[in-house]
Subunit: 224 residues, 2 copies
Amino acid sequence: MSSPTPASPNPAAPPQPGADAHAAAGRRPGGRTARVRAQVLAAVRDQLVEHGFDELTVDAVAARAGVHRTTVYRRWRDVGGLLADVLDAAGGDDWRPADTGSLEGDLAALNDEVYAALTGDPPITTALIAASFRSEEAARALTRFWEDRYDRCEIVVRRAVRRGEIPAATAARSLLIASTAPLYHQLVLFRVPPDPGLAGQAAHAAALAATAGAFAGNPASGPT
Amino acid sequence: MSSPTPASPNPAAPPQPGADAHAAAGRRPGGRTARVRAQVLAAVRDQLVEHGFDELTVDAVAARAGVHRTTVYRRWRDVGGLLADVLDAAGGDDWRPADTGSLEGDLAALNDEVYAALTGDPPITTALIAASFRSEEAARALTRFWEDRYDRCEIVVRRAVRRGEIPAATAARSLLIASTAPLYHQLVLFRVPPDPGLAGQAAHAAALAATAGAFAGNPASGPT
DNA sequence: TCACTAATGCGACAACTGTTGCGTTAAGAT
DNA sequence: ATCTTAACGCAACAGTTGTCGCATTAGTGA
């Protein structure tokens, strides 16, 4: 997760996001509906920033947005639905991985961003992960978000191949996961105290392993 | 996580596990208290197996255990406390990593166990991870459990060093995390559809990286 | 301008969650 | 055998969560 801050909240709000929040553009995407959605999503972010995930209840969001409880329940179902919508709005940015000139440098830069996202205050990213364990909808939104982010990261591997650092048949996704997973593992699951040194290690090891051909396979989509 | 099934539920039950479930051995560890604890913990496991984490409520556990709601609330506080106690009871087993004769084999065997735990039905392990995001107490218990497991796994690295497979100054913990984290990452956070092939990959890459000296550092406790 | 209707507001409601005070039971000690 | 008291059972309670039917508002199109 790199920049979950949504710069431009999508003004179109489907009335029934239960199935898919993006399928139909809504039968009435006009003024009030869009305004309510903007107010509610802003309220979610503000509430999250000011009081954390524990106090992110539907009631609190509705009150802060100046909207009735039932409206929020009907359109977003629960807190997970709210966060899923926030997350989808955040996925529409133009983020790209940094280009440092070397594979290890690129991976380290990625991990630095992951580190910042996971240890940042307010802990928005951690809150989203936590929410994904409470709501299937939030889980799907998070999966979509990460899928998109890792897709964008594959250029890091392609650049390294072009520079001759690693074999052409390197499984990009596997390499990227091997590089970032240890950081998530320690910060999210182990909850080790934050230490900026964590970020560089895995990047180094992954780059070395890639050089040694540990991720040989289909260059586009490795063995899952 | 490898074998969360508690073979022998600790009969000693501290009355106030709020602060630390193991500090004082309780002033009255006798028959009834221990019996209630055993009933409740068994009810937690049964409820989890039969109805999953979503229906694991304090009320359901109390009813199934034949115990009053208030008793559960007072001794375990919430569902997280219940799972933390279950988890602590599970950590007292005699699990050891398999010895296959090679580093990559040992790591692959580890990942096979992780895979089985994360994809097993009922999803006890996943439920515990989910609970750790709702309850600080469950989170601490999970950290303790994993810390203990990874400690026991370090012998895998020491054996590899003894066989001359990897440098003596290999950071055992870093290697182990690099080996297992990708699997957790994909199954727990990404929620990719289960695929037994996932388990072997990371083990292979980690073993290769270790051989190349990617985890050079303090052999006992690597750079965090 | 006017009718249509999707979306929202409103209040009531049941279900669930967690707490408190007090009486009862039974483990541990003398 | 008897006493002490930690732990439990019980009932009542307030607060929260989520749902429902119906009234009202405000985009949308004629």
